[in-house]
Symmetry: C2
Subunit: 152 residues, 2 copies
């Protein structure tokens, strides 16, 4: 799969899985909704209990910025299988303008955020406990058609 | 979500995402088909080019046995979201009887393997480049109903 195709499939997906690693080398996984712009992927840690900023995924990113994202599609017809992986470096966005821009991108993709933040206006997501930006360092992709040896 | 419910949702899923970590602390993700038995999850690295045993996921497990698996379901109605995470320790199965047993479990769940290994008999998966066993150390799960504060 070309990098261009990997990027297009990733951009069209509604959910990705985020892998982070803690200070002791243990991996951690959560699903994330996201927005892609140029070479950056953004996700928010949305409204949750007060200690959200202390979430494992954020502690891990502080300890080790290297993250991985995966989008994949399962089908019982394995000839339709494909996945796209993104390697990158993550950081919590502290700059107000950056946070607001990322929040706008997320709002544009997910009308659900509007419901969650109803009554506070659409800028409210920028006040979420954390908005994270991932600088993409590598695109990888696979689809069954790349894997001819499986049936030979 | 209780551990029992997390386990039941995981057991019913057809695909999970596997996170491994390399010797330098960088995470890696691939989707895997799997079988669960007691406190073990099994997956195979199936027929691929000769160097499959040298796959990144296997090099990572050799360097760091700590892995994480995630099963999740996305829905545009976020009230239906849920995920289940498994933390565990992985090892490539070298014992013939263990490999054959894990292969039987995988064959029983995925008739697709029979097609891939057609002509060689159902024991053939045990000769796949690698069969990996993960000893589960922790079950975690989340569903929207656990997350009431999101809309409050």
């Amino acid at each position: 799969m070309t990098e261009q195709e990997a990027r297009a499939r990733f951009a069209a997906a509604r959910v990705a899985r985020l892998a982070t690693v803690d200070g002791e080398g243990r991996p951690h996984l959560v699903p994330v909704t996201f927005a892609l712009e140029d070479a950056s992927v953004f996700f928010a840690v949305d409204a949750k209990p007060k200690r959200s900023r202390d979430l494992k995924r954020l502690r891990n990113i502080a300890a080790n910025p290297r993250v991985c994202l995966l989008v994949d599609e399962y089908d019982e017809d394995w000839r339709r299988l494909w996945w796209v992986r993104v390697d990158g470096d993550a950081r919590v966005l502290d700059d107000e303008a950056e946070r607001a821009h990322a929040a706008d991108l997320l709002f544009a993709r997910y009308p659900q955020y509007s419901h969650m933040y109803a009554g506070d206006g659409p800028g409210r997501l920028a006040d979420a406990p954390a908005v994270v930006g991932i600088r993409v360092t590598r695109w990888s992709g696979w689809r069954f058609a790349d894997h001819r040896s499986a049936l030979s």
